[in-house]
């Protein structure tokens, strides 16, 4: 156990060193922003190395913090560089016109089977893919409402754990489902972030 952990730690530190070296070398603002993501992922690797149930609980806030910082900084970059007009439609790939629905459905379905945090991430990727291909009319209010309700359910599950431990199975399922919807909603917002009137 210990040697494996040390090995992982060594790899993580080495990756961090690479990331920091890249950041020191890079001078372009946008590229530095992209490189910080490299650092964020190493951070998650550090937490994942703990390798217990606790690690999963700790990764979620770590990831949320990372994503929110990334979004906030991209917004600042956009404003400070004066990019206030939404970009023109960029990617033109055939599969994005023909297959988004089935790809998204497969990913969301698989995510629901997994449930919990990784399930949410996979389902979220499906929704992102769908929005990237089709998302002309994103319905932000709906996504935000779903996300809010799922958060409430998550909190309810927490209180169930504390106050009525005998219903733990119900609480686990509730928390798993809620976190699935929550992570999915948050990730799908990234897919929809392309400026425009809603941004």
């Amino acid at each position: 156990m210990i040697p494996e952990y040390s090995l992982g730690l060594f790899a993580a530190f080495a990756t961090a060193a690479v990331a920091f070296y890249a950041l020191v070398r890079e001078t372009d603002d946008l590229h530095r922003l992209l490189l910080t993501d490299l650092v964020e992922i190493v951070t998650l690797a550090f937490i994942a190395l703990v390798g217990t149930d606790l690690a999963e609980a700790l990764i979620l806030p770590g990831l949320v913090v990372g994503i929110s910082e990334l979004i906030a900084l991209s917004e600042i970059y956009r404003v400070k560089e004066g990019h206030i007009h939404p970009p023109r439609k960029g990617l033109r790939i055939e599969v994005m016109d023909s297959a988004p629905l089935i790809m998204a459905a497969i990913l969301v379905g698989y995510g629901i089977v997994l449930s919990g945090f990784p399930g949410g991430a996979i389902a979220g990727v499906g929704v992102i893919f769908y929005f990237i291909c089709r998302g002309q009319h994103e319905r932000f209010e709906l996504i935000e409402t779903a996300s809010g309700y799922s958060w409430v359910l998550w909190i309810v599950a927490f209180f169930t754990f504390m106050l009525f431990p005998q219903y733990w199975f119900c609480a686990v399922m509730l928390a798993g489902g809620a976190i699935l919807v929550k992570v999915m909603a948050k990730m799908s917002l990234i897919g929809a972030m392309r400026g425009g009137p809603n941004a």
């Binding site: 961090a16 920091f20 950041l23 964020e40 550090f46 910082e69 906030a72 900084l73 600042i76 504390m162």
Partner: protein
């Protein structure tokens, strides 16, 4: 528990999440509450700027939507600092600290001034990078000792690795203190004193708290 900040006054246990007040953390907590209150009830000032090379001067106005957004961010920053002051859990502390980093950027992000935005961006990059040592230290400590509770770490015989402590301080410095010299002085030029003051206050408070944490565990 006799901690470095004086005799414990009050311990709030919520499941395994623990908050405790020593005279030291209580002082910091009250200051965070006080300045958050000031940020809520004060209106921004009109900063007077002198046009270079002449006698002309003009007042910078803060628009209402900008003020609302920045006040919200300042309150969020205050709440994050309050959380960081009373948390008895190392990971919660690091989480609150990183939240302080984000909200500090947010407080000045609505200012439409290129210098301020540049400074905020530079600071944001540093704050983002600093999450690596910050969360890394918490993960390292939980992996080697098996607990994140500060009182347990203080009482128990587990040896907290020195590198964990060093990374924690480095992370907090990155989130709050280090950008003082690089970017924050520029950020402080932004009008809206009640909100801008939360930037420096929150950095200061998390730094004061990490000194207590590192010497205690």
């Amino acid at each position: 528990m006799l901690s470095i900040g004086g005799q414990d006054l009050f311990v709030l246990e919520f499941g395994d999440i623990l908050h405790y007040f020593s005279p030291y953390t209580l002082t910091l907590f009250l200051l965070a509450v006080l300045f958050t209150g000031l940020a809520i009830i004060s209106r921004p000032e009109e900063q007077i700027e002198i046009a270079f090379g002449g006698d002309a001067y003009y007042a910078k106005e803060t628009t209402l939507p900008e003020m609302r957004f920045r006040r919200f961010m300042a309150i969020a920053c205050g709440l994050a600092s309050i959380g960081a002051m009373v948390s008895g859990d190392l990971f919660n502390y690091t989480l609150f600290t990183s939240m302080v980093g984000i909200t500090n950027v947010g407080i000045v992000a609505a200012v439409k001034n290129r210098h301020v935005l540049n400074a905020a961006y530079a600071y944001g990059i540093v704050a983002m990078i600093a999450t690596l040592p910050l969360f890394g230290s918490a993960a390292l400590i939980v992996a080697t000792t098996g607990t994140l509770s500060i009182p347990a770490l203080a009482a128990g015989g587990q040896a907290v690795p020195l590198v964990g402590k060093a990374l924690l301080v480095l992370g907090v410095v990155g989130e709050g203190m280090a950008p003082f010299y690089a970017a924050k002085a520029e950020m402080f030029r932004a009008p809206g004193a009640p909100y801008v003051i939360m930037c420096s206050l929150s950095s200061l408070l998390i730094f004061l708290r990490v000194v207590e944490i590192v010497t205690t565990i």
